[in-house]
Symmetry: C2
Subunit: 338 residues, 2 copies
């Protein structure tokens, strides 16, 4: 089969690889329906994380089950399935507590930009749809497996409540999905920090009520102006840089909450500053599996359409261009069709 392999920063190639096989009785193998490139894939692509030896890439997938291990009874060959970038057994204490992305047997996906993928922990990870969804729903179902689930988690961790005010820091695919999540979870006012016109447009379409183009202290001051001088109830931090975290913490009101879902890179939070802010802080890899049944239903019901974050669709063999377009910010997110 064909699959993406990164060799060095800026060098991702489609290569012929061995077909994946069932290695454990808890595995499944799927044929990929669609896959995509994630903002986090750009860290090694840009040389901001070491690449090491050449290795496959990708952790987002929807597809058709081809084969299951002997212990997998929840899905069967032929079904269309959605999963999570973090696989989970569904039975450990952390899964039972609602944090499958901290599953004691978690395995993070890393080979999904390919025609076929082995899914560990398939029993606890995969959710099958009733029948085969229409092809035009695939992008939104794919989004649910990562960016939409992560945006949902941002809103959940930031404790968005009906009638509340939410700020979204970051206008990437996760930030845009966080707008959908804030709206669905009942936020009345959704302020998005963005200065990119196409992303602003999509943010508006997803439910943003206000846009803030200023950054840093000016951005915070603008948010304070929009929130009665005290800050927002909830801030959804969808970037992961020190600057984004600083903005997020300063934009939240006393007693408000910051949900941070971008993997932090060189972020340190000052204890005394956090203390006197009265702001609650929670983040982490999104517990996507917890949200999957609900989010899949919202997509199938036509209630949400997070697939709109894919503004570039390429065949898998143009994977190199898919990465390049995102790196150069010509695309928000690239969909890949095997």
């Amino acid at each position: 089969m064909r699959g993406a392999v990164i060799h060095a920063p800026g060098d991702v190639r489609l290569e012929t690889l061995d077909d994946p096989k069932i290695l454990h009785p808890t595995d499944a193998v799927i044929r990929t329906a669609v896959t995509c490139v994630c903002g986090s894939d750009l860290w090694p692509y840009r040389g901001l994380e070491p690449v090491g030896d050449p290795h496959p890439m990708g952790h987002e997938y929807v597809g058709f089950v081809e084969e299951v291990g002997s212990e997998v009874t929840s899905v069967r060959p032929g079904q269309f399935v959605v999963g999570s970038f973090a696989t989970s057994d569904g039975t450990c204490a952390n899964c039972r507590n609602g944090f499958p992305s901290s599953c004691l047997n978690v395995e993070f996906m890393s080979t999904c930009q390919a025609e076929r993928v082995r899914i560990p922990n398939a029993q606890g990870t995969l959710v099958a749809t009733d029948g085969h969804p229409d092809r035009e729903l695939w992008p939104s179902l794919l989004a649910v497996s990562d960016v939409m689930g992560t945006g949902w988690w941002a809103a959940d961790a930031a404790e968005v409540r009906p009638g509340s005010t939410a700020v979204v820091v970051g206008d990437g695919a996760v930030g845009l999905c966080a707008v959908i999540a804030a709206k669905e979870q009942g936020a009345e006012r959704i302020i998005v920090m963005s200065r990119h016109e196409p992303r602003q447009r999509l943010a508006r379409e997803f439910g943003a009520t206000d846009l803030v183009t200023e950054r840093g202290d000016e951005g915070v001051a603008r948010i304070k102006e929009l929130t009665g001088g005290i800050g927002a109830d909830s801030v959804l931090e969808c970037v992961g840089t020190a600057e984004a975290m600083r903005q997020a913490l300063h934009a939240a009101r006393p007693g408000g909450n910051v949900g941070f879902v971008g993997v932090p890179h060189e972020v340190a939070v000052d204890g005394q500053e956090l203390f006197f802010s009265h702001v609650g802080l929670r983040g982490g890899p999104a517990p996507v599996r917890r949200y999957l049944p609900d989010l899949v239903q919202r997509v199938l019901a036509g209630r949400i359409d997070p697939g709109k974050v894919f503004d570039l669709t390429l065949p898998l063999d143009q994977i190199a261009e898919g990465y390049r377009a995102m790196d150069e910010r010509r695309a928000i997110k690239t969909l890949l069709t095997p």
Copy 2:
């Protein structure tokens, strides 16, 4: 009147000071029933915070109203009142959101180790009891104004729930009150990190089910052993040092919560570590005023007895010994009678 003045580290004296007066129409003046020394008073006493010019000390008080400003209608002369170390107007957005200790007009008390005290924001701050409570209840009502309110906040911020497991880091007066709070808020298992026998005894009396004497990584390992390998639902951090925060964050399970109520001194939280822990973090100066009506009732009903944290009672003119005993850990907390 007489009141305490700190001149330098280790040098607190009772001196004759001007009687406090109504300075603003929102003020009240009370005659102190009892006051006390706080663990946080030891920071300047030990020279760990600058003392600066000689100044009065103390932020905990219960007493009898002597005089009120023209805008104060919620309490009247002769009433017995309980307040908070943070005064609040009760009307601003942060007060309405339940965070009176972030009141837009907050003034922190600082002159309470004295025979009389001016209370700013009296209308929003003071709670009068029905009639005059028995003298033996004064210590517990005094505790409510700070350490018990702060322990309650620790449990609230750490999201203690009925049936949950709570860890208390710190066996000072706040930590011990946090044990009461965790029990009252329904924790089934309460693990206290303490190696001081008299404090362990009081912790047990207040509801601790387990004691951990190990510290650092060993302490965390012991807590993991006691919590099915994953950590506690809630951790109440009642110290404020980097080491205590580290222990607290490591002792919480994925998806659990740390409430931190000791003012952090040189504490920095690593963003990536917090991210992958899935732990929620919230702290700050306790919103005591929010809890006051409820906590006063629990004391008057004999349901809680946080006054037991006072294991040394001295007349106000022995204030120097009151500080010394706490500094040398001969006393958990010193009650002062004017």
